[in-house]
């Protein structure tokens, strides 16, 4: 019976990590539902971006208050998790503070953790106040209701609880307190428990220890369902982000082929395809559902932190239009999840559910309000490109459905006929010179 806690610990650990691994597999499968895109170029530049933007948080600090608070929470979170390593070893082998044997360094380490824990606690409270008391506008837009709104708060409560558990655990650890090294913060919590017997203290210490590790495992598994997935995906996402100038929108290769064929007088459009060439269905132009987007765009959707920096700088949104680039990303993720669940329910095959991203999630009105100004792309702290999704969906509307607003159709007819978006004769193009 003596090994019961160790066995229990091992079971919880394996279950927690196992469930997480299962969801990661699902995540990867869903992302791979997207079209292929070649992002194998410029590896060193990509690594640099990842180091700067994800690890270095360079785009976070453009808004200094949120940026610095975020860095505290992020650093605190990562560094304090070194402690988890000790917890796992202790838990599996029934040791107690196995690393304390390393001497004075241990005190320095734990002391740092304690200071960080306090800082994280304070930062998280400020975050909570910004969300719920000051009510920063970007957290209260129409897409931030129900789950997205609660999600933002849950994570803050989670952090508060975890940090408290960590500090209380240290405070009630009599052995650790008598070492009197590294208890920089927890020593001030000790008086709260004055007068309790050593047995009770031990009980509290053990409980917080267990809750702490279980909490971390729950948190790990919460990620998949939360905007907090970004703590993992920010890394691949910044790595695979667009490297070309923001104004450069991709040229559709499938269109290039057709245009070249039309312009080339030597090509016989009625010729039979050469031997061996598959008479494949022509690729759909643009996107009406998540499978038509490329996998980096789907990765973008899972990475979105729902911070709303994009929306708060979007000219369309600022002037009361329905378009919100954050909503574009959230819709894409929601639909992708729906498609993923559909695949799970139907034995690995997607069964048409009569729904799609276009129309059921994102309306034409939203899509047509975009000025392609790139403010959202510039603002995003994790290099998400909402504009590219908007453009793909416009492509579908125009090229597959001829569903552009009337004025735009007129404009396009003008270009076709006169080589200008207005109904002027191309032969008058130089008239300005003599006017």
């Amino acid at each position: 019976m003596e090994y019961l806690p160790n066995i229990l610990f091992a079971i919880i650990l394996v279950a927690g990590i196992g469930y997480f691994a299962k969801n990661v597999k699902k995540l990867i499968r869903n992302i791979k539902l997207g079209r292929d895109v070649d992002v194998s170029d410029n590896k060193s530049e990509r690594f640099k971006n990842m180091a700067m933007i994800a690890l270095g948080q360079s785009k976070m600090v453009r808004r200094p208050i949120a940026g610095i608070l975020h860095i505290i929470v992020y650093l605190g979170f990562i560094i304090i998790n070194i402690e988890v390593l000790e917890i796992i070893i202790d838990g599996l082998f029934g040791t107690h503070r196995i690393f304390s044997g390393i001497g004075a360094t241990y005190g320095v380490l734990i002391g740092t953790f304690e200071v960080l824990a306090l800082l994280v606690f304070v930062a998280v409270i400020i975050f909570w106040i910004r969300r719920n008391v000051i009510k920063l506008k970007r957290f209260w837009k129409s897409e931030m209701t129900a789950w997205p709104k609660n999600d933002g708060n849950f994570i803050l409560y989670f952090e508060m609880v975890l940090m408290t558990l960590f500090l209380v655990m240290n405070a009630t650890d009599v052995h650790f307190q008598t070492m009197n090294s590294g208890n920089v913060i927890s020593q001030f919590i000790v008086p709260w428990f004055n007068g309790l017997s050593e047995g009770t203290l031990h009980l509290i210490e053990r409980s917080t220890w267990w809750l702490h590790i279980v909490g971390i495992l729950v948190f790990l598994n919460y990620l998949y369902f939360s905007k907090h997935l970004h703590i993992l995906l920010a890394f691949p996402n910044t790595y695979y982000a667009k490297l070309t100038p923001k104004g450069q929108l991709n040229n559709l290769e499938s269109v290039t082929k057709e245009v070249k064929m039309m312009m080339d007088p030597n090509v016989d459009p009625f010729a039979a395809p050469p031997e061996g060439a598959e008479a494949a269905m022509p690729e759909k132009f643009g996107a009406s559902d998540v499978q038509d987007l490329n996998w980096v765009q789907l990765l973008n959707a899972y990475t979105c932190t729902e911070c709303g920096r994009c929306t708060s700088e979007c000219p369309a949104n600022l002037t009361g239009k329905k378009l919100s680039p954050r909503k574009i990303m959230m819709d894409t993720r929601d639909r992708l999840e729906e498609v993923g669940k559909n695949i799970d329910a139907n034995g690995g095959e997607f069964k048409d559910d009569g729904k799609q991203l276009l129309g059921d999630y994102i309306s034409n009105e939203e899509l047509w309000a975009c000025t392609t100004c790139n403010a959202c792309v510039e603002a995003c702290p994790v290099s998400i490109d909402p504009l590219s999704i908007i453009l793909e969906m416009r492509r579908y509307l125009v090229m597959e459905q001829s569903a552009a607003p009337t004025e735009l159709n007129t404009m396009m007819t003008n270009i076709e006929n006169n080589g200008a978006p207005w109904p002027y004769n191309q032969m008058d193009r130089l008239n300005w010179k003599d006017e």
């Binding site: 104004g247 039309m262 700088e313 600022l318 002037t319 453009l391 969906m393 404009m411 978006p421 008239n431």
Partner: protein, 262 residues
């Protein structure tokens, strides 16, 4: 502008058997829009003054396809691109300068994979070169010296291609008092014209984007709102009118400031 402008076409140059130094890409707005034509002429005036050996395509120029692409019509865009590239390559064009950030972006970034490789510059970059190399001189004591000027960054020049300095350097040369809007450079607010919005009514909302952007500009209490894009110019001009400030504030292209600074 009463003085005679010298505007050779590529066809004329070809007939004379010479290759001009640069091609000036006028763009659709610059060719047909009454306000934008003034910018075109101002830039030509500068080119003439600096004795730049340039030419235009004239009636052989066609829409770059930028608006069509951003409206989602990739097909029409590529048709336009391939047609233009054929003409440009036939004339063996190497360098292009344009006063329209949309043409600039498309020619520079979206034409290369379709077979059109050119060195493309925005007119503010080119004028800076002219000044630096001494081909163009600006009087220290000019009409705009000391005027309060705010610069509106066109999205397709700024964020899209990270050209923030060139237009500002020109304003500095003029000795104006440059006052930045709260949102400028990377965070500049769009004028509302891009992405084919210029050609349609805005979606339902509570304000027009150009009015919001004009409010940004008005906060700096400028004498002049400068910009570097014919579409921005139209939007800001309309915005100033909507705010009934057209008697106090003028909206001018940086090229117009330079051309009329004497």
């Amino acid at each position: 502008m009463s003085e005679v402008l010298n505007v050779p076409t590529m066809a004329e140059c070809m007939a004379e058997g010479r290759q001009p130094e640069i091609l000036f890409w006028v763009g659709s707005a610059g060719s047909y829009d009454d306000r934008a034509k003034k910018i075109t002429k101002a830039f030509v005036k500068i080119l003439n003054k600096a004795n730049v050996d340039f030419a235009v395509l004239g009636t052989e120029e066609s829409c770059t396809g930028d608006v069509a692409k951003r409206a989602g019509n990739e097909f029409l865009f590529q048709m336009q691109a391939v047609t233009n590239i054929e003409v440009l390559n036939a004339y063996q064009v190497k360098r292009i300068v344009t006063a329209c950030p949309h043409s600039y972006n498309t020619l520079k970034n979206e034409y290369p994979q379709l077979g059109g490789q050119y060195k493309v510059q925005h007119h503010t970059e080119f004028i800076n070169e002219l000044i630096k190399s001494g081909r163009l001189t600006i009087e220290g004591e000019n009409t705009f010296k000391g005027k309060r000027v705010t610069f509106h960054d066109p999205c397709y020049l700024g964020r899209a291609n990270e050209v923030y300095e060139a237009p500002r350097a020109l304003l500095q040369t003029l000795g104006v008092e440059l006052v930045e809007m709260k949102r400028h450079r990377k965070t500049a607010l769009c004028c509302g014209a891009g992405g084919a919005q210029m050609f349609k009514e805005p979606e339902k909302g509570d304000k027009d984007i150009n009015v919001l952007r004009t409010e940004d500009a008005l906060q700096t209490q400028p004498n002049i709102i400068a910009t570097g894009c014919p579409y921005c110019n139209t939007m800001m001009t309309d915005g100033v009118k909507a705010k009934e400030k057209e008697n106090e504030i003028t909206v001018l292209d940086v090229a117009e400031l330079i051309a009329n600074a004497q």
